[in-house]
Amino acid sequence: MPLNSNSISKPISLGQLLADRDDLWRGRQRRPAPARSTGHAALDAKLPTGGWPRGKLTELVPERAGSGELDLLLPCLAECTREGRSVVLAAPPLVPCPQRLHRAGVDLARVLVVRAPDHALWAAEQCLKSGLCGAVVVWPQRNQVNERAVRRLQLAAENGEAPLFVCYPPGCPAPPSLAALRLAVHAGGELEVLRSAQGRANGPIRLAPDNVVTLAARRHALERRA
């Protein structure tokens, strides 16, 4: 174990030393998996995983296509591109609006969109295996949702650090999987933790809609411009 600078100046307890090792089995005590901040402080606090679990699968079950999953992920994607890593959007159902991405702080040069739905899962798997991407988001087609496909993606994700998000088509029952986290996304930005490797959260999580559009304020200026 390397000694860091403050270990020389002040003694550390044995418990702390042991806690720093991740090769110890601690019976029923689970160490929280490394997580990446979701960018919403409220959500980080509420999620049993403390953020988006890295190198793990997070399943999102939106109530309807575009019911908030992209806005939910944008802060995390922006953070990835700021770190200089690319983010992959595989087969998004609609066009991700570049102005919206830019406003959220995403570096558009680091966004890779896979527009071939047939190859989306394969492409996502390749990106995960490469270990080069900051985050991978997949919107599988209805006929692609099966346990084997999701399992393959999950194994590929475990090779690296990138969180993997699979957004199921609305109304499509999610297959049994060992996802670290499964969230339902309801209309109006309400989230519900359906399952989690770290136990369940209690009750739905309401996110403050931080993307309320303030058109009225800008209306006059635009009318003058037009």
Binding site: E63, P98, R100, H102, V114, G188, V213, R218
Partner: protein, 480 residues
């Protein structure tokens, strides 16, 4: 060439004793060569099909080179004899020369191998044994059986290799030669018969013959050849130069359409390409492959490139595989043609200090791989365009395009590729309107009021009422 011999000259001969045999089966996939049948290669000699090479298993059964194929098959019915493939042999010798060229600038082709001058390379490669080991190692990937020999003169180097012996000085060479039977020398059959009639069995007998007598009976050729062997005359050599461009044509032994067999053959071609790139100091930009079917049908052509010039063999093979997989090959392929585009210059390899993988190099590699399978239009970035009309304010771009969005008003996360008509009765308008009136200069003028609306299930939509050119309500985006 100067008349005096340089003292430091030292030649290494490389011969392929089984070249004809191995070349005949070279392009076959390994599983076809895996059975234990005795093998041979045959060719048409003087109107008759005769064997030109046999392997040990066939020799044990009594099959000899020079036998008619029908006789050989009568002796050994399981004999697997392939027609001699001179083109493959020439290609293999070319590959051999390319490898040798990495060790010496003086390389010459012999009929069944190459000779190269290594006296001048000793300063670079260290002692002779080290150099021979390095040469052996470089030759190993070619997959052809080679034997090395060393002699101080070029003419003898090939012979020494065939005999598998070494002589680093003229005296040692003289001793070795003296004990050889006459058959080791490259003499015409007529000359050999005459010498046999003279009672000359070994090279020492030949050396003892008075030169005047030898010239009178056999012409001057044999005497001169003997002088070259013994280092008393300079051997005239045509030095080999690597070709300016890389192009290879390969005839497949059996026409195939299986992807794995084609990839195997392509992999063989990449052997040569790799050496060619190295000695020519080139970097590959694109590889053009043409498949010629046996029934003169349409040729299949495709090309594979790497995002950055260079040569990463496994990546290139993977891309070739991905390119080949979707191609429907209608009829069996009999010939492969491979041409390479390259640029000169070496880029120093930049390895990541910590992980050993180079992210600058790995990302283009990943894009190459994805693009090979998905196609260029399936892989893109998204960029804003400065246009007030929201449906024209975005575009798919090449991945990695840097784009700066101007400060547009708040937009929804999802846009519909094309606005879709909807009914106002299903919506509850919450916020708006944002008036957009534009496009009058290019004849696509429109006037719209954009609103944020809730639909029945509580989703927020981006809708607009259009007055010009159409009239009605449309959904254009989804917040979320």
């Amino acid at each position: 060439m100067s008349g005096t011999l340089r003292k430091a000259a030292l030649w290494t001969g490389v011969v392929c004793p089984r070249l004809a045999l191995e070349a005949a089966g070279r392009m076959r996939a390994p599983d076809e060569n895996a059975d234990d049948r005795p093998r041979a290669a045959h060719d048409t000699v003087g109107g008759q099909i005769r064997l030109v090479a046999v392997d040990e298993a066939a020799a044990r059964l009594g099959v000899r080179t020079g036998q008619a194929l029908t006789d050989a098959l009568a002796i050994a019915p399981r004999l697997d004899s392939q027609p001699r493939d001179r083109r493959a042999e020439a290609a293999w010798l070319e590959d051999l020369a390319l490898v040798a060229y990495g060790f010496s600038h003086q390389v010459a082709l012999t009929g069944d191998g190459v000779v190269l001058e290594v006296g001048g390379s000793r300063r670079l490669h260290g002692p002779l044994d080290t150099l021979l080991d390095a040469l052996d190692e470089a030759l190993a990937p070619l997959g052809v059986t080679t034997r090395l020999g060393v002699a101080p003169v070029a003419a003898a180097a090939g012979l020494m290799a065939r005999a598998g012996s070494r002589a680093e000085t003229l005296d040692a060479l003289e001793k070795t030669l003296a004990a050889w039977p006459i058959e080791h020398l490259e003499l015409a059959p007529a000359e050999r018969r005459k010498l046999d009639g003279l009672g000359v069995r070994q090279v020492r007998d030949l050396v003892r013959l008075p030169r005047f007598e030898l010239d009178r009976r056999l012409g001057q050729g044999v005497g001169r050849y003997l002088d070259q062997l013994r280092g008393r005359l300079e051997t005239p050599l045509v030095y080999w130069q690597p070709p300016e461009t890389f192009a290879r044509t390969v005839d497949l032994p059996v026409p195939v359409r299986r992807t794995d067999a084609l990839i195997f053959a392509l992999n063989r071609v990449l052997d040569g390409l790799e050496h060619w790139l190295r000695v020519r100091d080139q970097r590959l930009t694109r590889l053009h492959v043409t498949l010629v079917p046996e029934d003169q049908g349409p040729k299949i052509a495709f090309s594979a490139g790497l995002g950055q010039p260079g040569f990463q063999r496994d990546r290139l093979l993977e891309i070739l595989k991905l390119k080949l997989e979707p191609i429907r090959i209608q009829s069996d392929i009999e010939t492969l043609r491979v041409e390479a585009d390259s640029v000169s210059g070496q880029r120093p390899p930049q390895a990541d200090l910590w992980s050993g993988t180079n992210i600058n190099d790995a990302w283009p590699a990943l894009l190459d791989r994805l693009e090979a399978r998905i196609g260029e239009d399936g892989l893109c970035g998204v960029a804003p365009k400065s246009d007030h009309r929201p449906e024209k304010a975005w575009a798919w771009t090449k991945p990695g395009t840097t784009a700066v969005a101007d400060d547009a008003p708040e937009r929804p996360a999802w846009l519909l590729p094309d606005p879709r008509p909807c009914r106002l009765d299903d919506l509850r308008l919450i916020d708006g309107p944002e008036r957009i009136e534009t496009g009058w200069w290019d004849g696509q003028d429109c006037r719209r009021d954009y609103w944020v609306a809730h639909d029945a299930s509580g989703h927020r939509l981006w809708v607009f009422r259009e007055y010009k050119p159409r009239d009605g309500w449309f959904v254009h985006g989804v917040f979320g």
